[in-house]
């Protein structure tokens, strides 16, 4: 099975440590991945802003780059959701349909693999499942649909020794990032973010974990502005044995 790694544009440029951790975690579980250098972005930023036409060049590049692989793994629920659900705007060639089906989010993919080495992570963990992973990919049960969230991220966290997932007042409230929403409506976006952080703090979270670095980028920006750090980590970093 040939596996390709898709690293979202902002992770490539701003959070290379998350991409490297992804690579290491996959390697530790015996999966050899290729990172095709022709990749750039899935096209979500433009389409989210109402410019699907401007997203097509990126989306077509994505299809060309990844069509030859059996599986395309990405450490981002949001980008995977975009490829799976919004590539319907492209003509549905067999290549397009293939990449739509073959693109998987990292934590879901990890659950199909043998367990990795045991990891100690003695922290109270605040879980943030990004909305596109939650309600777009149905990676967990949203609070509107049921009381028990479950999901890939929590399943992986349960394998850590010493990690305690904190209960929140609002388990899956949106963090307020929302792609271009963060800059279209900065006041509301930041308000949502600080409310989200307050919920985690109230319940004693020592580290904030997500499978989506975009939510974490926004929350981290607010945490640092507040000057009372609550470290954020991508799940790949934790599974790679890193500590906050």
């Amino acid at each position: 099975m040939s596996v390709a790694l898709f690293i979202p544009c902002y992770v490539d440029q701003l959070y290379p440590q998350v991409a490297r951790a992804t690579l290491a975690v996959l390697a530790a579980r015996g999966v050899t991945v290729e990172y095709p250098l022709a990749q750039t972005c899935c096209g979500q930023p433009m389409a989210n802003a109402g410019c699907e036409g401007d997203a097509h060049a990126a989306a077509r590049r994505f299809v060309r780059t990844f069509a030859g692989y059996d599986t395309i793994v990405a450490p981002s629920g949001s980008c995977v959701h975009y490829v799976r659900h919004h590539f319907d705007a492209l003509p549905q060639t067999s290549q397009v349909q293939h990449v739509r089906n073959a693109t998987v989010e990292l934590s879901e993919f990890l659950l199909t693999l043998p367990e990795g080495p045991p990891i100690d992570f003695p922290y109270r963990v605040g879980v943030h499942v990004g909305c596109h992973a939650l309600r777009g990919l149905r990676q967990a049960v949203s609070s509107e649909l049921g009381p028990t969230p479950g999901g890939a991220l929590r399943t992986l966290l349960a394998t850590l020794r010493g990690a305690e997932v904190v209960a929140l007042d609002r388990p899956d409230e949106c963090c307020g990032f929302g792609g271009t929403f963060a800059v279209d409506e900065p006041a509301i976006s930041a308000r949502m973010g600080s409310d989200r952080i307050a919920d985690h703090r109230r319940h004693g979270a020592q580290v904030l974990v997500s499978g989506d670095m975009s939510c974490l980028m926004h929350l981290d920006g607010i945490v640092r502005r507040q000057g009372a750090p609550l470290p954020v980590m991508h799940i790949a970093q934790i599974l790679n044995g890193e500590r906050p």
Partner: protein
């Protein structure tokens, strides 16, 4: 014209009000979760309701004719209004025919949409809204900010100040019970003295030609039983085919709206009460045009429960008035652009597309998908702000080319490292958040350097 971001920011500047508004609505959302979990077949009910609505909309013409036939046979006077103006003229005509000058109204978002109150008042009719929340916003000369809780944006003290002015209560009074008592007296006089009562319609039943009106205060029932004329105004999309369907929708409506098992008063009105008159005004006002848009049609299935407003993290923090349309929140953000895309171009963007609205919707309208589609329509119609439009064209070019992407990535990281704090804080991101700390090396640079690429 005020856009959503501007109005939302103005609302959110009052941090305390925002917190309280958010918590009040979240409380309702949490209640909704609790009561829906007591119904094991909740998801099956939603699916059923969604199917019934899709079916009804697929042959709306037939059901409207059936509804009219049965209503006429029941002795109801049926009127058809193509738009808001015609609706208002019809209502005024009914009142004038009987020399009626005092009207009591129970809650109807349709009449808000048609701006009926100012129209009637300009023609010498005294209009009193009998729903307490509606009465509060009427006294404050405001529009409702929520479709189920019209005055949810107002704090107790503000209601107290308003009642002091109109009902002579103490300006310091902020006890909800005593304030409600103060409103009750004048409201009773209005109800007893009314020449006509107007209600909205929650459901029209094609099979019986009857309508269902749901209230928690019983104000609609008091109004229609006391006044000799009952005028019920109904949008064409409010139909369900059979009485049996009500069992599905009434179970969904109250639970989704307020977390109650059922509204306190759900009244089925079929025939006029002798010697009174019963009028139905059936209103289109842009609905058939919306029906003609296949990719947006499902929004007409909305039963106006307000659950998407309660759950929307943006609505909760920006208040209903920020949407600048009769129906605020996520459902309004997909209905209003269909009426006037230019005016409401910012509404499809007043969302993070978190999807919570779609998951609470009792008739399973895929609201996030509709928001996404409206965004594309706004883009194609050339209604995006020029700066955003240009940025997206540039970004599209950058992401289309590997070399261009790599070069711009490097430049962006350099810029992030050298940008002075004061300048960063003037960007839309940096105003509220710290910018990311840019690494020297991108992942792809490391990948190539480490000899893997």
């Amino acid at each position: 014209m005020t856009t959503h971001p501007e109005a939302a920011e103005a609302f959110a500047q009052d941090a305390e009000r925002t917190a309280w508004h958010d918590q009040a609505l979240w409380f309702v959302r949490a209640k909704r979760d609790q009561v829906t979990r007591a119904i094991p077949e909740w998801e099956a009910l939603r699916t059923l309701a969604s199917g019934i609505k899709a079916h009804t909309l697929s042959r709306l013409d037939e059901y409207l004719e059936q509804f009219e036939r049965n209503a006429l046979a029941n002795g109801v006077v049926v009127h058809w209004a193509a738009d808001a103006d015609e609706h208002n003229r019809i209502v005024l005509g009914i009142l004038r025919d009987r020399g009626a000058t005092r009207l009591v109204k129970s809650k109807s978002m349709l009449t808000e949409e048609c701006h009926l109150n100012p129209y009637l008042e300009a023609h010498g009719i005294t209009v009193v809204d009998s729903d307490l929340g509606e009465r509060i916003v009427q006294l404050g000369r405001e529009a409702p900010s929520h479709i189920v809780m019209p005055a949810i944006h107002k704090r107790k003290a503000e209601v107290g100040a308003l009642f002091a002015e109109h009902f002579g209560t103490s300006p310091d009074e902020d006890d909800p019970g005593r304030l409600a008592d103060a409103a009750r007296g004048p409201l009773r006089s209005a109800l007893f003295g009314a020449d006509a009562a107007l209600t909205g319609v929650n459901f029209g039943v094609a099979e019986t030609g009857g309508i269902v009106v749901c209230t928690n205060e019983g104000n609609a029932d008091l109004g229609v039983h006391l006044a000799p004329i009952h005028i019920a105004c109904m949008g064409i999309e409010k139909l369900v085919p059979r009485v049996a369907d009500l069992g599905v929708f009434l179970r969904l409506l109250a639970r989704s709206a307020t977390g109650q098992p059922i509204t306190a008063y759900s009244s089925h009105v079929v025939t006029p009460r002798a010697p009174g008159q019963l009028h139905f005004v059936i209103v289109d006002n842009g609905r058939s045009e919306h029906l003609g848009r296949p990719e947006f049609r499902e929004a007409l299935a909305c039963i106006r429960c307000g659950a998407c407003l309660n759950t929307c993290p943006v609505y909760r923090r920006s208040g209903g008035h920020s949407y600048g349309s009769t129906i605020p929140g996520p459902i309004g953000a997909i209905l209003s652009p269909g009426v006037d895309l230019a005016k409401h171009a910012s509404l499809p963007f007043a969302s993070t597309l978190c999807g919570s609205c779609g998951d609470v919707c009792p008739v399973k309208i895929d609201i996030p998908q509709q928001l996404y589609r409206w965004r594309q329509m706004v883009g194609r119609a050339g209604l995006l702000p020029a700066k955003k439009r240009l940025t997206m064209t540039l970004l599209g070019g950058v992401f289309g080319s590997r070399a261009w992407y790599e070069w711009c990535g490097r430049m962006a990281r350099v810029a992030l490292r050298v940008v002075p704090g004061w300048l960063a804080r003037r960007t839309a991101w940096g105003r509220e958040r710290e910018l990311p700390v840019a690494p020297k090396e991108s992942f792809r640079e490391w990948y190539q350097r480490s000899g893997r690429g």
